[in-house]
Amino acid sequence: MLRPSTTLPRRGRGPLWRNPAIRALIVQAVLFLVLAAFVGYLVHNTLLNLEARGIHTGFGFLEGRAGFAIPQTLIEYTSDSTYGKTFVIGLLNTLLVSALGIVAATIIGFMVGIARLSPNWLLARLATIYVEAFRNIPLLVQILFWYYAVLRALPSPRQSLSLFDAFFFNVRGMVMPDPQPLDGFAATPWALLIAVVGAILFGLFAKRRQARTGQALPVYWIGAALVIGLPLIVFLLTGSPLEWTLPELTGFNFRGGINILPELLALWLALSIYTAAFIAEIVRSGILSVSHGQTEAARSLSLPEAITLRKIVIPQAMRVIVPQMTSQYLNLIKNSSLATAIGYPDLVAVFAGTTLNQTGQAIEIIAMTMAVYLVISLTVSFLMNLYNARTLLKER
């Protein structure tokens, strides 16, 4: 009697390598081991060869006395500090110019990008000229231009251009008064913090209120008044506990005050202006990607142009803009290593330059430097991806 089988026949176990899942696992494991062995071999071989040639290896050099000076140090540093410290100094200088550059490039980029789409003929043409000029000249040339052509045209320290006798501009950069906090100053930053939190809470409240009643409050004015006003009142009430050290011309240079290096200014200008040209195009493409129907709809509701741009167009444009901005930010950070061309003491100039040359530990130092750029770039990528996830189209 024929009976249809209700279960599939059991698969024979067979040899392990017949099982595709296990086979894939084995192949991957073998591949990984071979790769690890290969890398291990390269490292071992390098160490062996370095030793055979009498070249010292290892990270012990980081403990040694550096013995050279660095013109811009955000934290305490003297020539008695260690080589390890020069790494930190260089890293901070790189981060400083990158952060300044990112902020400035974003602001300039947005303004130029929006200006390029302006109905004002002159403004739009000027923005076009800006973009075409600055993104088509190599960055290194621009850095050298700002450094050698523009900043070098400033007068010597003795003939400094001065502003209120407190700010001085000369070929050595910019000197400005240095604030020295006295007793009781701590209250002011706290007041600022409270004011910022307050302004944010007020903004949330105003938003909810507008959603409920349709009435808009002057959020920006009130917020600004809070953030500026509260710390100012606290500062005055505590008796203005801040002393300004004015720069003074003694001998060769100004003493006292904060000196901003012309190398930093030149690098900052060049990086910002160059990257802003690309950001402008990204902003323009983002705005153009928002369907014209959106603008028309906003106009038919008789929303003012400024609000249409801020509330309708830009939020939707951000979806296109953010991922590309990440690349530009990463480029800017990596381009900051061109600092070495004009003597700005960034990571590459100080650590992968002078420290490398004084110690001769090329492999260790270059590996550390590459790792730093990798970590910075991955961090920026990660943060921008978080932001990107927030600006994504929310499908409801």
């Binding site: 591949l31 071979v34 009498g54 013995g67 050279f68 004009i342 330059g353 040359n357």
Partner: protein, 342 residues
């Protein structure tokens, strides 16, 4: 699967290739002889030491050391490929074999000799670090430089000496470090710095590049010892000896009165046994190093003795007009002294 299998085969092959490449320890002399030329690391342009002239031909006292080695080994001083290097690149270029000889106004120090896998083959110029300032500042001594901005080349002993000097004298300074000596001169010229510091011979050379060479003065202090000389890789003693003795041959030739003009006559009729040994008429001093016995003859004939080279490149016959000073021979009041050829 095909793809993965393929990579499994490629990997070990690549590993084998890596093994094959890395275990060849080259003898530099054999390589140089078989290729018929060698690579010499020089500066990116420093008048008197190594810089290209208007025809693109490299000249300078460091360049002549490269030519002397080429004359000794290959019998032709022009068989050198010059590779311009910044101060920061120089040691890595030599270590990695990119250049076979580094003759680039490089100071002989303990760290460089002992921990970088390099050997200094002698001293072709004894120097000391100095300071150059504008005359109108009215500065007469380096001890008056408190608070000054100073232009310096990055990655040099100069940078270290300066930090030590200012610390020892309890003075402050602001350092501006550039990659090449041209840039430091440019930085000084444009007023970015009050002071330019370097080895004093280099200051004499850089001075010529300034917009107003007569408006500046080199201060009298010499704050360091800077013995400059050619450098080779450690672990190739034969090549080390050749470079060392090429330099000694130039010094011995000067001491014995052998010049590029009288060298033929001296070889045909050696006035004394020393000259006969130097010029290969007696003994086999070239063969001992694996090169021809007329090695020193070639050097003197084609490049010149040390005195001739000095005068032509940095001395009175050159725009730099440096005195021999301590670079005179030991029997003429200097400290240049070569072991005898015997």
């Amino acid at each position: 699967m095909r793809y993965k299998n393929k990579s499994l085969i490629v990997m070990p092959a690549a590993m084998l290739a890596a093994v094959a490449v890395t275990h060849v320890q080259a003898a530099t002399l054999d390589d140089v002889k078989s290729s018929g030329e060698f690579t010499c690391g020089v500066s990116t342009g420093l008048t008197g030491f190594s810089s290209p002239d208007e025809n693109g031909k490299w000249t300078g006292i460091d360049v002549e050391v490269c030519r002397a080695v080429a004359a000794a080994v290959l019998g032709d001083p022009e068989k050198v490929v010059f590779s311009p290097l910044t101060a920061k690149e120089r040691f890595t270029a030599l270590q990695s074999g990119e250049v076979d000889l580094l003759s680039r106004n490089t100071t002989w120090t303990a760290t460089r000799d002992n921990s970088l896998g390099l050997n200094f083959a002698g001293v072709n110029f004894y120097d000391g670090q100095g300071f150059l300032v504008r005359k109108d500042l009215g500065v007469k001594s380096a001890t008056e430089l408190d608070g000054a901005s100073i232009c310096v080349q990055a990655g040099t002993t100069t940078e270290l000496n300066m930090a030590d000097y200012f610390k020892a004298h309890d003075m402050q300074f602001q350092q501006v470090a550039f990659d090449t000596s041209d840039q430091t001169a440019q930085g000084f010229d444009s007023g970015r710095c009050d002071v330019l510091t370097s080895d004093s011979s280099q200051l004499a050379a850089l001075r010529l590049q300034l917009a107003d060479p007569d408006g500046v003065v080199i201060l009298p202090e010499r704050i360091s010892k800077e013995p400059l000389g050619p450098v080779v890789r450690q672990g190739d003693d034969q090549w080390f000896d050749i470079v060392k003795w090429s330099l000694f041959a130039m010094l011995n030739a000067e001491e014995l009165g052998v010049t590029s003009e009288n060298v033929d006559q001296m070889r045909d009729n050696p006035p004394n046994p020393d000259v006969a040994r130097l010029l290969g008429k007696d003994g086999n001093f070239g063969e001992q190093m694996g090169i021809s016995n007329d090695w020193a003859y070639n050097i003197v004939k084609m490049v010149g003795n040390y005195g001739e080279v000095f005068e032509r490149t940095v001395g009175m016959d050159s725009p730099m007009e440096l005195e021999r000073g301590i670079n005179a021979l030991w029997n003429e009041g200097g400290i240049q002294y070569a072991p005898p050829v015997r």
